[in-house]
């Protein structure tokens, strides 16, 4: 990574080094650059070096020239900031002070588990990995921690050694499946049907936790039968509060109201969870109302194990056995991964699994929980003073809108640029490989006047850039890092000096801002370095009870420091133990931004916003995968799955020579022997994988590990490894689910990509 033939690290020159594509001629800079004989062919890359005055600064000034907002917006994209608050934060800081827009990543990555904001009002919240060992039952769904959470995999074995049961749900026989007590193969994208079948059995056999549902959830809150909206106190009495909700008190046989400042029920109130009740409104009208849970009940009662089995491919017996074991072997943890989340209806899948954890009271308990392990998104310290100096915030736009443009259903809070996008500034990202629906992405790319890439490696993305600025790797710079699975702050300290002329992102931004706006540079960049930024963020959280209370840079130099969180770190502990209202804060958003997700301030199994009602998604339900409506299953009979690979971290290390020796350097598409035989394909054959969005040519890997009716090609392979095509994302979809547009808080309630919701066909190449 730090070195090698693809390292973008030209030999020393006297100034910033840039790599240029012929687009500069389009910008009218040929004259200025004539002195350096810039005869570049389309798509070819050259390094510009030379003495002062040869034109290098001219290039940078053209970047300056582009900073005229009347001509459109420069869009900055960097990957999830949780894995480097300083340098990824520098992106935000620069975007803020220069007036550029900044893209989201967690939602664009498809990792934002929309079930979490919908149900719990948070961006995401997961048990720390070491808490797996405290579980008695581990239900791993659409996740393959043995390959994608390698350092944490041992906690599963620790749990098993303590007698826990491990059940793995995956269409593919994965490494994790090979360790399971029980492996259940589902038809891809049918998890919601399966989970609702499990919920059916739990409900039918009375294995659910009624007290939990009454205390912590919206289950007892009455819903007006005719409007689908929850009843408020203000509906019942003139001058009543719109923030008090109504339950049916079975003891008194009449309505009672509950507030939003504390969970639980008023003393003596025993709210009904099911049934239909007549309620008299303030205007005298008598209406029928049912508790929210009665809607859940109706849905899960329709999902008999037989019906769930028919949709999902699991047997009714296994659904029944799983339900009994899951509901009785407590604490039981659900570990959900991208395989279940990366669907257009991944929110419904997540809501169905979350329902199991909520129904059985497995929330907020060590060894239990509903955790979605996706991405390094988590912001664990108050980053605002570093990212948003003087409280200036750049417009943050879900990157999917850069691809798709405005949608009819786009939330008005999305700050879509009035004059569109005109330039793309990419850091920490192999954007032109790792975006969905790549051919559409490349169309958008042609509309850009300038593409700048900051990267240590000559990736597929860097190859397409107009300007490549050589970046340091993480081995060469200081940063502050944390992960969702381990509540520790860690100082990333350089192990080697920068290679060649590589510079850190903070340095690069500082240099650009200096040339573009010296006044802003003096104010916001001149006097700050990595350590200054870190101290700024530590100080912001150093309040009594704050996340960084008492944590100093000096301590971090000695090693990782545990954040001031419970041990083990369990989400919703304050809600479960102290009856604090949902949701807890999701940094860096203020609580006001995310509270709106849960008007009841309770776990919401029922959603009342108009779009949920219009689409029939008030409660968790199953819907067929979206791509079934785009690609006729008769014509495109296979589902294309693109899981993570253990040989890379997404596309990083794709070109590692040692790993190439292990995996052979050939992208292989996993197919079931029956599917291969039907197409005359043998193991190792060259094959074409295609749908209406794109195609690629690679090699077949024929094995029983594949589910019939699927083709599996792990994401992250660089284009150059394929026989033809840009990679798996030529085929994936960039469709936006309008439910994800009901609210807009970047990376928290925003369109989440459905990578696995993709049909294809395969033929011999």
């Amino acid at each position: 990574m730090a070195d090698g033939p693809l390292r973008v690290a030209p030999p020393p020159a006297d100034d910033a080094v840039v790599v240029v594509r012929d687009v500069w001629k389009r910008l009218g800079t040929t004259q200025a650059l004539a002195g350096v004989s810039l005869e570049v062919q389309r798509g070819q890359v050259q390094v510009i070096m030379g003495p002062s005055g040869c034109g290098k600064s001219v290039l940078l000034k053209h970047l300056v020239g582009l900073l005229r907002p009347d001509r459109g917006t420069i869009h900055v994209f960097g990957q999830v900031p949780g894995s480097g608050y300083v340098h990824k934060g520098a992106n935000y800081r620069a975007a803020a002070v220069l007036g550029m827009s900044h893209g989201t990543s967690f939602d664009y990555n498809g990792d934002l588990p929309m079930a979490m904001p919908i149900t719990f009002g948070v961006q995401n919240a997961e048990h720390e990995a070491k808490d797996w060992a405290n579980a008695r039952f581990l239900l791993v769904v659409g996740a393959n921690p043995l390959e994608t959470r390698i350092p944490d995999a041992h906690f599963l074995f620790d749990a098993a050694a303590n007698g826990a049961r491990l059940v793995v749900i995956d269409p593919v026989f994965s490494a994790t499946a090979s360790k399971a007590d029980t492996w259940i193969r589902l038809e891809p994208g049918t998890d919601a049907a399966f989970a609702l079948g499990v919920a059916h059995v739990i409900w039918r056999e009375g294995l659910h936790d009624e007290a939990f549902l009454r205390t912590y959830t919206d289950a007892p809150l009455l819903v007006n039968e005719s409007t689908g909206k929850r009843l408020r106190e203000s509906d019942l009495t003139e001058g009543g509060s719109a923030e008090r909700f109504v339950v049916w008190d079975e003891r008194r046989g009449g309505p009672a109201t509950v507030g939003i400042d504390r969970l639980g029920m008023p003393d003596g109130v025993e709210p009904a969870l099911t049934g239909s009740y007549e309620v008299r409104l303030a205007n005298g009208a008598r209406i029928a109302a049912r508790p929210g849970f009665d809607h859940v009940r109706a849905e899960i009662e329709s999902w008999t194990p037989e019906r769930a089995a028919e949709v999902s491919g699991a047997s009714p017996e296994i659904i029944e056995k799983l339900a009994r074991a899951y509901a009785t072997e407590k604490p039981a943890a659900i570990l959900m991964g991208g395989g279940a989340n990366h669907w257009y209806h991944g929110d419904l899948i997540g809501r169905a699994y979350a329902l199991l954890a909520v129904m059985t009271g497995n929330i907020g308990r060590s060894g239990g929980g509903f955790s979605v392990y996706v991405g390094q998104y988590k912001v664990r310290v108050p980053t605002q003073p570093w990212w948003y100096p003087d409280e200036i915030k750049p417009p943050i736009i879900s990157t999917i809108y850069w691809v798709e443009g405005r949608t009819e259903t786009m939330n008005p809070a999305v700050p879509y640029p009035e004059n569109g996008f005109k330039a793309l500034f990419l850091t920490f990202s192999n954007f032109l490989l790792q975006s969905p629906n790549l051919n559409r992405v490349y169309e958008r790319l042609r509309e850009m006047e300038l593409v700048v890439v900051v990267d240590p490696q000559m990736t597929e993305t860097a190859r397409w850039a107009d300007v490549v600025l050589p970046a340091t790797t993480w081995y060469e710079k200081t940063d502050l890092v944390a992960t969702p699975l381990h509540p520790f702050l860690q100082l990333q300290q350089p192990a080697i000096p920068p290679v060649g002329e590589a510079r850190s992102e903070l340095d690069i931004w500082s240099e650009l801002v200096r040339r573009i706006d010296p006044e802003k540079w003096r104010r916001y960049f001149r006097d700050v370095d990595e350590e200054g930024a870190i101290r700024m963020m530590l100080a912001a959280g150093d309040d009594p009870g704050g996340p960084t209370e008492g944590i100093t840079l000096e301590q971090l130099r000695e090693g990782p420091v545990r954040l001031r969180v419970p041990d083990p770190d369990i989400p919703f502990k304050a809600q479960i133990e102290d009856l604090a209202p949902f949701p807890p804060v999701s940094l860096p958003a203020p609580i006001e931004a995310t509270q709106v997700f849960l008007p009841t301030r309770r776990i919401e199994l029922y959603k009342e916003e108009d779009r949920f009602l219009e689409l029939g998604e008030q409660v968790a339900t199953h819907k067929d995968p979206y791509d079934d409506g785009v690609h006729d299953p008769a014509e495109y009979p296979l589902r294309l799955l693109s899981p993570h690979s253990k040989w890379r971290i997404h596309s990083t290390y794709s070109n590692n020579p040692w790993l190439e020796e292990i995996h052979g350097g050939r992208p292989r598409v996993l197919m079931h022997p029956a599917d291969a035989e039907a197409r005359g394909i043998r193991d190792g054959d060259e094959i074409e994988v295609f749908n209406s969005r794109g195609s690629l040519k690679a090699w077949a890997h024929v094995s029983e590990a594949a589910a019939p009716g699927t083709a599996t090609l792990p994401e992250g392979w660089w284009s150059r490894y394929f026989l033809e095509g840009k990679g798996v994302n030529e085929l994936t979809s960039s469709a936006i689910n309008p439910i994800h547009e009901v609210w807009y808080v970047p990376n928290m309630w925003a369109p989440s990509t459905g990578w696995k919701d993709c049909r294809c066909e395969v033929r011999r190449a």
């Binding site: 350092p151 995999a153 049961r165 029980t182």
Partner: protein
């Protein structure tokens, strides 16, 4: 990287990491061995990759590989009852107590190092490259230096071990250079799944011997009479729902 800028990875480690890798108390005459828990092994190759780094193993050569039981890399087999099965066998020198490689070596370059835990070691200077040992080893874990060693990046031979001369045979040393420093082999230290147990096979109270006894550890190709010092622990039994 120039020789004088090399820092011993052991010395460079924070104290906590050194503690994690410390062998601890050692008897005067240990018999070093290892157990690999195939229940815990996840086939990640971390041990193989760190081995390559630690020992400056050139491109195209591996002292330590991870075999997938029964089939190609990461491909399951259909088990006795029709179910799919997959497990891994990390494979390096077994450090046999009765090593066939030693018996065939015409120059005694391969020897049992009685001063260092009875490990099987190679004196590279004495190796004449006849490769009899490679033919004799039933485990196929020895590799030959056909030419100048090549590394992914020139100058980035980060390991702490002398490069081996052209025409010599090399293999796992059980990280002898680390053992001398009181640290476990790098494959043990680095295993993220904590699947490897290192210790003295003559210490009946040690974790290693206890694990082998409790879990019924087995040796590879036991019937060959090579008496490997590496044991494999079988996967746990699965419970049906």
């Amino acid at each position: 990287m120039p020789e004088d800028t090399k820092v011993s990875p052991i010395e460079a480690l924070p104290e906590a990491s050194r503690e994690y890798g410390a062998i601890g108390e050692v008897s005067d005459e240990p018999r070093w061995g290892m157990a690999i828990d195939t229940e815990r092994c996840i086939g990640c190759w971390s041990c193989a990759v760190i081995c390559k780094s630690e020992n400056d193993i050139p491109l195209g050569m591996w002292w330590n590989r991870i075999l997938t039981k029964g089939d190609d890399l990461d491909t399951p087999t259909v088990g006795e009852f029709g179910g799919l099965e997959m497990s891994w066998v990390p494979l390096a020198c077994q450090h046999c107590d009765d090593p066939p490689c030693m018996k065939v070596c015409p120059t005694s370059a391969t020897f049992v190092d009685v001063e260092h835990g009875r490990l099987v070691e190679v004196n590279q200077e004495d190796c004449i490259g006849c490769r009899y040992c490679m033919a004799a080893c039933p485990y196929g874990v020895r590799v030959f230096n056909w030419g100048e060693p090549e590394y992914p990046v020139e100058g980035f031979d980060l390991g702490m071990v002398e490069p081996r001369p052209i025409g010599s045979v090399e293999k796992c040393t059980m990280c002898l250079h680390r053992l001398i420093e009181g640290q476990v082999p790098s494959c043990v230290w680095s295993c993220p799944a904590q699947a490897r147990i290192f210790g003295d096979l003559d210490d009946p109270d040690g974790e290693l011997v206890r694990a082998i006894e409790e879990r019924g550890g087995t040796q590879l190709l036991e019937e060959k009479g090579t008496k490997p010092k590496v044991y494999y622990l079988e996967p746990r039994r699965r419970r049906s729902l």
